[in-house]
C-alpha cells in the first residue's frame, strides 16, 4: 500500500469549491508549520487540503483525532488560535475562517501531536470507564485536593486560556424585528423571502460566514441551477428588500422570554486583528415578534469499534469539503451508512476523482439506489454489513468489514464517510423547557412544542427533503409575517429534490464476538464509549440525565451535538426501552459556546459600572485631591498640601482647620428628594419614625427611617421650605433605595395621599461650610438682605436665599461636624464656581477644603451614625434613638420595631470607646469582650463599627455596639482584633466625644 502514512499524497484540491477563491493563496501556520489556503477556507478545510488529517488528541485517552464534521458541532478538532493576549483555546477548526497569517496550535498533547506521551492513558483505559472519577477519587478525602486534582488537571483539560488581559473590544447591541429567521439554508431563505416580501421587518441570522447552508454542500440543483447559485439569487432578492437585515457570522444561541433572543456576531474573528475601534464580537439581543428556526440538522456518526481515527468523518461533511471547499478528504474511501444520504457521498467522492472502495449499508434490504450508486462508483456493496474494526495509528488505514454472512474482510482506505442519519438541530426550540419527541418514521427527535412565537422549518422541523424545506420555510415565513400584520402571497419556489433519504431504524452497537472488543465511541469530545453507556446502565443510571452526569456524555463545548442520540439509542437497548420513552436530556442556552468577554461587552474595568462625578470634581482634581468611591460616586477623600507626607497628616490638618477656623466639603452626593403637596407632612410622618406635622416652615429636622421589619433603613434631614414643600436628604448609599421605597409607599400603600416627589440629587450642588468662621465666609456669598445671625437663622434653620447678587440658592443650618455649620445648595452648574468662590472669600479666614476622611473623623468625634452603624442589622434602640419612635402615629416599621427582641437591653447598643493606653490603636471590625474573658464567640459582646484617630482629642476613638452598652459607661472592655491577633483594653463611654452639650453649634 503506497497511500498510507504518507503526507506526500497527491494534493486533495479539486480546483473547484463554491465557497473558496482558488485564484488567491493565503498562508497560515499549524503547530509551527506554514501551509497555503484559499480565502473562504476554514481551518479544517485548509488542514485537509494540506493532507493534515491529525488535528488533536482526545480529552481522556489522548487518542489521535481528526476532523469529524464541517460545522459548529465539531467535537474533535479543537485548537488554540492566535498567540499572546489573543490566544483562544478550544476553537473549532471547522468554523474557524482562515486569514493570512493565522496561527493555530493543537491542544492536549505533549511533546507533540504525533508523539503524545500521555497517549499512555489509552493503555490504562479499562480503568477510565464510566464514573471513573467518582469511583477512584472518593477516598481518602485530602488526597483529592493534594494529589488527584493537580494530577488530573495536568493530564486532562483542553486548551490554555491567554495569560494576559484580552486587548480586544466587545460590544452589545439590541435590535427589533417582526420575524427572526435562524439559518439560511433552503428553509431559512424561503422563510426570509416569504416574510420579507410582505414588508415585515425580517432579521436573517446565519452562523456561517456565507449563506446557503447545505445548498453549498450539495451538488443538487434547484430549478436547473446548482443549489448554491439559487441561494445566491435568493440573497440578491433579499438584499433588495429594505426591511430585511442579513446577519452572517451570527449565531442565535438562546431563546429567552418574551420573544427575546441572544445572538453572537463574530465581527472580527476572521481577520488578523480587529480594525481600530472595531469590536471582535458583538452580543445581540434580538426582540422578535415571531421566530422561525431553520437551523438545519446535524448528522449522527455511526457507532463502531475504532470509529474515532483521523480520516473517519461524517458523510455529509465529506460532501461539504468536496463541494464547498474543493477539498477531497481522502483518496480511497469506505462509505458506512444506514440511509441513502450516505450514498450521495459515494457519488460525490467518485465525481471528485476519489476511489470508493466499499459501501457498507447496514440496511437489510438492498435498495435500487444503493445498487445504482455502487455500480456507478465501482464500489463493493455490503448490504446488511457493518464495520467491525478499523486500523491505523495516526489515521485510518483499513476497515474490517463484516458482511451479512458474518465473514470479515479488510479493505484499505484513508477515509471512512459515515452517516447514521440526521438529527434536527432543534436546540433553540427547547430553551423554554420543551422536550422534543421521537419520530420513529424519521428516526429522529423532532420539536413538537415551541416557545411562544416560535416555529421550526425544514430539517430542524423534521422536513428532510430540499423541496419540503423550501415549502415549509415559505409557509412558515408567510404565516409569521401574517401574525405580525403583514400579508403577502407565497414566493415562487424552485423545483427541488423531494425523495426521502431512506433511513429505516437506529441500531445500537451490535455485540459482536467475532471481533476483539475495542472502543466504539459515542461522545468523541468526552471519550465516552458504547461500553461506558452499557456499564452505566448496568450500574443503575437509567435516566438520560443521570447517564449524562455519570459518564459526561453530552457535556463540554459541543454539548454532545453528535453524541446524544447515539447515547440514547445505546441506553435504550441496554435498559430494554424504546428510544421515545428513553427521552433526551435538556438543552440549555447557549447553542454554541459564547465567550465571557462577549457577555461582559464593554462592561469591564472602569466601565464595569458608571461613575458619578460631583460638580466640584474637576476643581478638586486641580487641588490635588485623592478620590474614593462612594457607591457610584467619586468623592474627594482628602486634599494633601505640600509637605504632608502621610494622609493622616492631611486629614488631621483638615479636621483642625474646621474645628478652629473654617472648612468646606462637597456633600452633593447625599440624596435629595423634593416633596410637595397637601399631604406631604402626612407622608413624611409615615416614612420617618419621628413627628413632622409641627415642623415650621424654615426649619429642618433629623429623621430616621425604618424598614417594615423594624430595622433602621436610612437617616437624614428634611427641611420645610413652604407650607406644602419639603426637601429631604438621604445618605449617599441609600439615595436610590429610599426613592424606590417612597414610590412604593405612595403608589401601593397610600395612593390616597396627595403628594408628589422627585429626585433632585443631580440638580443641586451642595456644600457643607463648617467651622467657627463659617458665618464670616458666608457673609461674602449670601446676599446681604438675608440675616445670617444666630438669632435670625438659628441651628436647624432652612431658607431659600440668593447669593452673588441674585442667584437663587438654598441655605440650611445643619452640622455633621459639630461646629457652627451651614449647607449651601446651588444649581449644579454653579458648583464649581461656588467652590472657587469659597476658596477666595474664605482665604482671609483660613478656609480649606476637606474630604470624606476628615468628615468621617469629625462625625465619629460627634457620635453621628453613618454607613457602618446603619448596616441594616441595627435598630433605633441600638443607635440610642429608641425614644424617637413616635407612639402617636403609624409609620413604616412601627409594629415590628416593637418586638421585644428588638428593644432588649442586652442587644449591642451604640457606645463610644477609647483605649486605656493612649498608644493602643482601635480598629473597626474588632470584637468587644468582657475584661479577662477568652477571645471566643461565646464571650462576644459586640463590635467596633467605626474608629479614627482624633486630632481634636489627640487619641484613638471608636464607635461600637456593646451589649447593654448605655449601662456600662465607665467600664473597661477588651477589644480583640482577630486579624492582627491583638487584644487591647478600652474604656466604654457615651458615643459623643466632643461638645456633648452642642455649645459649638449654637453660636
Amino acid at each position: 500500500m503506497t497511500l498510507f502514512g504518507r503526507k506526500t499524497a497527491a494534493a486533495p484540491r479539486t480546483g473547484g469549491g463554491n465557497g473558496v477563491d482558488p485564484a488567491r493563496v493565503i498562508h497560515f501556520t499549524f503547530d509551527g508549520v506554514r501551509y497555503p489556503a484559499h480565502p473562504g477556507d476554514t481551518l479544517a478545510s485548509a488542514l485537509l487540503a494540506n493532507g493534515q488529517r491529525l488535528a488533536g488528541r482526545s480529552f481522556k485517552y489522548h487518542r489521535p483525532r481528526g476532523i469529524l464534521s464541517a460545522g459548529p458541532e465539531e467535537p474533535n478538532a479543537l485548537v488554540e488560535l492566535r498567540t499572546g493576549a489573543r490566544r483562544e483555546p478550544n476553537s473549532r477548526a471547522t468554523v474557524t475562517e482562515v486569514y493570512d497569517g493565522l496561527v493555530a496550535c493543537s491542544q492536549n498533547r505533549w511533546p507533540s501531536l504525533r508523539m503524545d506521551a500521555l497517549g499512555v492513558n489509552g493503555l490504562f483505559s479499562p480503568i477510565f470507564t464510566a464514573g471513573f472519577y467518582y469511583k477512584t477519587f472518593m477516598w481518602p478525602a485530602p488526597f483529592w485536593e493534594k494529589v488527584y486534582e493537580p494530577l488530573i488537571r495536568r493530564a486532562a483539560g483542553l486548551g490554555r486560556a491567554a495569560d494576559e488581559a484580552d486587548p480586544d473590544l466587545y460590544e452589545k447591541a439590541t435590535t427589533f424585528c417582526d420575524v427572526l429567521v435562524v439559518g439560511s439554508g433552503p428553509a431559512g431563505l424561503a422563510a426570509a423571502l416569504a416574510a420579507g416580501r410582505s414588508g415585515a421587518r425580517v432579521v436573517l441570522c446565519e452562523q456561517d460566514s456565507v449563506t446557503g447552508g447545505r445548498l453549498r454542500a450539495e451538488r443538487g440543483e434547484l430549478d436547473g441551477v446548482p443549489g448554491w447559485q439559487w441561494a445566491r439569487q435568493a440573497m440578491d432578492s433579499l438584499r433588495q428588500m429594505p426591511e430585511v437585515r442579513i446577519m452572517t457570522r451570527t449565531c442565535v444561541f438562546g431563546a429567552y422570554d418574551g420573544g427575546t433572543y441572544g445572538a453572537l456576531e463574530r465581527v472580527a474573528d476572521h481577520v488578523a486583528m480587529p480594525a481600530a475601534g472595531q469590536p471582535r464580537q458583538r452580543l445581540w439581543r434580538i426582540v422578535a415578534g415571531r421566530c422561525i428556526v431553520a437551523s438545519g440538522g446535524i448528522e449522527r456518526p455511526m457507532v463502531f469499534v475504532g470509529n474515532d481515527r483521523p480520516g473517519i468523518m461524517l458523510a455529509g461533511a465529506v460532501r461539504t469539503y468536496i463541494n464547498r471547499f474543493g477539498v477531497v478528504p481522502g483518496r480511497r474511501a469506505v462509505i458506512y451508512t444506514n440511509n441513502d444520504d450516505g450514498l450521495r457521498t459515494a457519488t460525490d467522492l467518485a465525481h471528485a476523482g476519489a476511489v470508493v472502495a466499499a459501501i457498507v449499508d447496514t440496511r437489510a434490504t438492498q435498495t435500487a439506489r444503493a445498487t445504482q450508486v455502487a455500480r456507478e462508483t465501482g464500489a463493493k456493496l455490503f448490504t446488511g454489513g457493518a464495520i467491525a474494526a478499523t486500523y491505523g495509528r495516526l489515521g485510518v488505514q483499513a476497515a474490517a468489514i463484516r458482511d451479512r454472512s458474518g465473514r470479515v474482510q479488510h479493505i484499505a482506505c484513508d477515509l471512512i464517510a459515515m452517516s447514521g442519519g440526521w438529527n434536527p438541530e432543534l436546540s433553540l426550540t427547547t430553551h423554554h423547557g420543551a422536550k422534543p419527541s421521537y419520530n420513529a418514521a424519521l428516526c429522529a427527535f423532532v420539536p413538537t412544542t415551541f416557545p411562544p412565537g416560535m416555529q421550526a422549518a425544514g430539517v430542524a422541523n423534521g422536513a428532510f427533503t430540499t423541496a419540503a424545506c423550501l415549502r415549509e420555510g415559505a409557509e412558515q415565513g408567510q404565516a409569521a409575517a401574517a401574525a405580525c400584520g403583514f400579508a403577502a402571497d407565497l414566493p415562487a419556489l424552485p423545483a427541488a429534490d423531494a425523495e426521502s433519504y431512506g433511513i429505516e431504524s437506529l441500531q445500537p452497537l451490535p455485540r459482536d464476538r467475532s471481533v476483539k472488543d475495542g472502543k466504539a465511541f459515542i461522545d468523541f469530545q468526552n471519550d465516552v464509549t458504547a461500553r461506558d453507556v452499557r456499564l452505566a446502565a448496568q450500574e443503575g443510571f437509567r435516566s438520560v440525565e443521570h447517564l449524562k452526569r455519570y459518564t459526561t456524555l453530552g457535556m463540554a463545548t459541543d454539548q454532545g451535538k453528535t453524541a446524544n442520540v447515539n447515547g440514547i439509542v445505546q441506553l435504550a437497548q441496554q435498559t430494554g426501552r424504546d428510544i421515545a420513552s428513553t427521552g433526551t436530556t435538556m438543552f440549555r442556552p447557549p447553542v454554541q459556546p459564547v465567550a465571557i468577554g462577549a457577555i461582559a461587552g464593554a462592561h469591564t474595568g472602569t466601565h464595569f459600572k458608571p461613575t458619578r462625578l460631583t460638580p466640584t470634581h474637576e476643581w478638586a482634581r486641580q487641588q490635588g485631591a485623592a478620590f474614593t468611591a462612594n457607591g457610584l460616586w467619586q468623592r474627594a477623600q482628602w486634599f494633601a498640601q505640600p509637605g504632608e507626607s502621610h494622609w493622616r497628616d492631611t486629614v488631621n490638618r483638615e479636621v483642625r482647620t474646621v474645628r478652629t477656623a473654617v472648612g468646606f466639603c462637597d456633600v452633593t452626593t447625599l440624596g435629595k428628594i423634593d416633596i410637595q403637596g397637601p399631604d406631604a407632612a402626612t407622608f413624611l410622618e409615615r416614612l420617618y419614625v419621628n413627628a413632622w406635622r409641627k415642623l415650621p416652615v424654615g426649619r429642618a429636622r433629623y429623621g430616621l427611617m425604618l424598614r417594615e421589619d423594624g430595622f433602621v433603613f436610612d437617616d437624614g434631614t428634611t427641611a420645610r421650605l413652604g407650607p406644602q414643600h419639603y426637601v429631604m436628604t438621604t445618605t449617599t448609599a441609600h439615595a436610590g433605595a429610599v426613592m424606590q421605597h417612597m414610590e412604593l409607599c405612595h403608589q401601593w400603600l397610600w395612593p390616597e395621599l396627595d403628594v408628589h416627589f422627585i429626585s433632585v440629587t443631580d440638580e443641586w450642588a451642595q456644600f457643607a461650610i463648617a467651622g467657627p468662621r463659617a458665618r464670616d465666609v458666608l457673609r461674602h456669598v449670601v446676599d446681604p438682605d438675608f440675616d445670617l445671625s444666630h438669632e435670625a437663622f438659628g441651628y436647624m434653620g432652612a431658607a431659600e436665599v440668593t447669593i452673588c447678587g441674585g442667584q437663587a440658592a438654598r441655605l440650611f443650618r445643619l452640622s455633621f461636624s459639630g461646629e457652627l455649620a451651614f449647607e449651601l445648595a446651588v444649581p449644579a452648574r454653579y458648583g464649581d464656581a461656588l467652590a472657587r468662590l469659597l476658596m477666595k472669600v474664605g482665604a482671609p479666614y483660613g478656609i480649606a477644603p476637606y474630604g470624606t476622611e476628615a468628615l468621617g473623623v469629625m462625625r465619629i468625634e460627634k457620635g453621628h451614625p453613618a454607613g457602618p452603624e446603619l448596616n441594616g442589622q441595627t435598630t433605633a434602640h441600638d443607635l440610642g434613638m429608641g425614644r424617637m419612635l413616635s407612639g402617636k402615629k403609624d409609620f413604616i416599621g412601627r409594629a415590628m420595631a416593637a418586638r421585644p427582641a428588638l428593644t432588649d437591653a442586652s442587644r449591642p447598643t451604640l457606645v463610644g470607646l477609647r483605649p486605656v493606653s493612649p498608644s493602643d490603636e482601635l480598629v473597626a471590625g474588632s470584637h468587644l469582650l468582657p475584661r479577662g474573658a477568652e477571645a471566643t464567640g461565646a464571650h462576644d459582646q459586640g463590635w467596633i463599627s467605626s474608629a479614627a484617630w482624633s486630632p481634636t482629642l489627640d487619641g484613638w476613638i471608636a464607635l461600637g455596639f456593646l451589649s447593654d452598652g448605655p449601662a456600662r459607661h465607665g467600664e473597661t472592655v477588651m477589644v480583640h482584633n482577630p486579624l492582627a491577633g491583638s487584644v487591647v483594653a478600652a474604656t466604654v463611654g457615651p458615643p459623643v466625644f466632643l461638645d456633648p452639650e452642642g455649645a459649638r453649634l449654637h453660636v
Binding site: 439590541t174 429567552y256 422570554d257 418574551g258 420573544g259 427575546t260 439581543r285 426582540v287 423554554h432 423547557g433 411562544p452 417594615e708 421589619d709 436610590g736 426613592m739 424606590q740 414610590e743 412604593l744 405612595h746 403608589q747 401601593w748 400603600l749 395612593p751 390616597e752 403609624d890 412601627r894 409594629a895 415590628m896 418586638r899
Partner: protein
C-alpha cells in the same frame, strides 16, 4: 423577558426591579403580631400564576402589578400598582 409597561410600552426586563408578592396587604397599625410576621416574612412560592410587584426604575418609576406564570414566565397582565391600590384591591385575591 419583557414587560409591557402601561406607561412606557414593552421594555426589557433589565429596566425593572422585582419586589415580590403583590397579594400581600399591609396590616392595620394595631394588627396582631402574627399578622405582621406573615406580612413581613412569610411568602408563598407558587408554581403557576403569581401576582407580583415590579418597579420600573429605569423608566417611569411606576410600581407595577405583573401577573406572571412562574413556570413559563408568561405574562398575562401588567397594571399600574396605584390603579389596583385605588380601585382593584378587592379583585386581587387577598
Amino acid at each position: 423577558m419583557r414587560l409591557n409597561c402601561p406607561c412606557c410600552g414593552p421594555r426589557g426586563v433589565e429596566e425593572f426591579t422585582y419586589r415580590g408578592d403583590a397579594t400581600l396587604r399591609r396590616p392595620a397599625p394595631d394588627a396582631a403580631a402574627p399578622d405582621w410576621v406573615d406580612y413581613v416574612y412569610l411568602r408563598d412560592n407558587p408554581a403557576g400564576w403569581h401576582r407580583e410587584l415590579w418597579y420600573h426604575g429605569a423608566g417611569c418609576h411606576a410600581w407595577l402589578v405583573v401577573t406572571r406564570d412562574t413556570r413559563t414566565h408568561e405574562i398575562a397582565d401588567v397594571a399600574r400598582a396605584v390603579d389596583i391600590a385605588r380601585h382593584g384591591r378587592e379583585n386581587t385575591g387577598s
